[in-house]
């Protein structure tokens, strides 16, 4: 289970960023144009979308792939 596709869809729906425009391995801040405020809001939207609670200690996540791995982990822990 990878949440990457769903995250790409969510970021498209919420911020109008096409999946092809945001390299999953690139910095969301530097290449995606998501500043710290937009990222905070995006994490909030992720929680709503997946019905999960994101851990606070991973605030230094920088790429969409890293985010997808974390979301996978949280979702797996929830279903376990």
């Amino acid at each position: 289970m990878s949440s990457l596709k769903e995250l790409q869809d969510l970021i498209h729906e919420k911020y109008g960023i096409e999946p092809s425009k945001l390299d999953p391995n690139a910095s969301m801040r530097e290449t995606g144009g998501l500043d710290s405020l937009a990222l905070a809001e995006f994490l909030f939207a992720i929680e709503d979308h997946f019905g999960i609670t994101m851990p606070d200690e991973d605030a230094n996540i920088d790429t969409l792939n890293e985010l997808a791995v974390l979301v996978d982990k949280v979702r797996a822990a929830k279903t376990a």
Binding site: Y15, G16, G33, D35, L37, A38, E41, L43, F44, D48
Partner: protein, 403 residues
């Protein structure tokens, strides 16, 4: 050296649209933007709201944490700069430009969403709500690096902001100012609070549009409005230097406090502000042809304003034509002073006066030379003023002259 202050740009996002000429025409035609809202509330409510397309100004990403009150401000300020011929290519030194923005409440929608979120609160609620967010967003959008200031003085907020901007230009602290304000608090919680304050107009079903009747015998209060308006102010030297059109000169302003009561208006306090504005402009009362009144259509407020005008104008009161445009665009609170200043500037520029709508029978205690719908021409007008009198007791008067 004192610099003369010119109004070189006008921008508005109002219940009557975002084109100043169309707004002014709607007022001349007596078109009310007030309509029923929130039918789910226990008591009937009405307000003048803005049909705003935020995608004209923001990408979805840019909207993260930007409350409607800031969105309206960014749009109106951008329109003002475009009108002045300064956007997108502003030639001013960014450090010599200031933003002076009025806002009464801040991001009401963000706060309302926090209360109603059943514990789910957006992490951007605070930056969205903070009352200085509108000014900050305008600064980021326009690259303004001088003073970026917010004035929260209830119903006088943006009138005070414009006066403060004019002072900064007059003293030479900035070359250019984007001055005005925004308010967007038409959300159920805030409307309920205003209803509880007992200052809103009552109305029968189907009659919301005519609910606000300034200076009329049957007046019962105001309706809330939302929107934003900004003026571009420049020193006369700078405006002349770049060949800018000047709509008007901001020749005088009066700022003072009643220091008597938090919400009850006070004629002597208002008269002090009126005299101060006249004195600064070097004008006599008879020189002023039009007053855009504060005119909230409350039982007490209109009489007190009339008495203040009568005190200062004396035997010349009949020569002063008066109207309150709140009858048509509602009370925009923190943005009221700015939109009414903009309307006053247009009245002077076009030599036409917006009528005092919905006043079929003038209250004898409010006897003024009210502008009637069929007599709006003012071919000889040279000066006009806008009154803003706030809860908290602060009074602000802006006095404009033809350039």
């Amino acid at each position: 050296m004192k610099h003369e202050v010119c109004v070189t740009g006008l921008g508005v996002v109002a219940p009557h649209g975002d084109e100043p000429g169309a707004l002014f025409q709607a007022l001349l035609d007596g078109q009310s933007a007030i309509q029923p809202i929130f039918p789910e509330l226990p008591k009937p409510a009405a307000a003048a709201t803005v049909a705003f397309d935020e995608t004209r100004w923001f990408t979805k990403l840019q909207l993260a944490g930007v409350d409607r009150v800031s969105q309206l401000a960014v749009a109106a300020a951008d329109l003002a700069l475009r009108d002045a011929g300064l956007a997108p290519n502003n030639d001013a030194d960014p450090e010599r430009v200031g933003i002076y923005a009025g806002c009464g409440m801040g991001g009401a929608a963000a706060l309302e969403a926090a209360y109603r979120g059943n514990g789910r609160v957006s992490p951007l609620t605070i930056p969205a709500f903070m009352p200085n967010a509108p000014a900050a967003h305008v600064a980021m959008r326009q690259g303004v690096q001088g003073p970026v200031l917010t004035y929260s003085v209830a119903c006088a907020s943006s009138s005070v902001a414009i006066a403060e901007a004019a002072k900064a230009i007059e003293r030479g602290e900035v070359d250019m100012a984007i001055a005005g304000g925004s308010e967007a608090l038409i959300v159920p919680g805030v409307v309920l609070a205003w209803q509880a304050m007992q200052t809103l107009a009552s109305f029968q079903p189907g009659e919301a549009a005519g609910a606000v009747r300034p200076f009329a015998s049957d007046r019962s209060g105001f309706a809330l409005g939302e929107g934003a308006a900004f003026l571009v102010l420049e020193s006369a030297e700078r405006a002349r230097g770049r060949g800018a059109r000047s709509y008007a000169t901001l020749a005088g302003w009066g700022l003072g406090s009643d220091a008597t009561h938090l919400t009850k208006p006070d004629a002597p306090g208002q008269a002090r502000a009126l005299r101060q504005a006249l004195r600064q402009a070097g004008l006599q009362p008879r020189d002023v042809g039009y007053c855009n009144a504060h005119g909230t259509a409350t039982r007490i407020g209109d009489v007190v304003e009339r008495n203040a005008l009568a005190d200062v104008w004396g035997d010349d009161l009949g020569s002063l034509r008066v109207s309150s445009t709140k009858a048509l665009h509602g009370h925009m609170l923190g943005a009221a002073g700015a939109i009414e200043a903009l309307i006053t500037v247009l009245a002077l520029h076009r030599r036409q006066l917006p009528p005092n709508a919905n006043c079929s029978e003038v209250d004898p205690a409010c006897s003024l030379n009210l502008v009637t719908p069929h007599d709006t021409s003012a071919p000889n007008i040279e000066a006009a003023m806008s009154n803003s009198f706030a809860f908290g007791g602060t009074n602000s008067v802006l006095l404009f002259r033809r350039p």
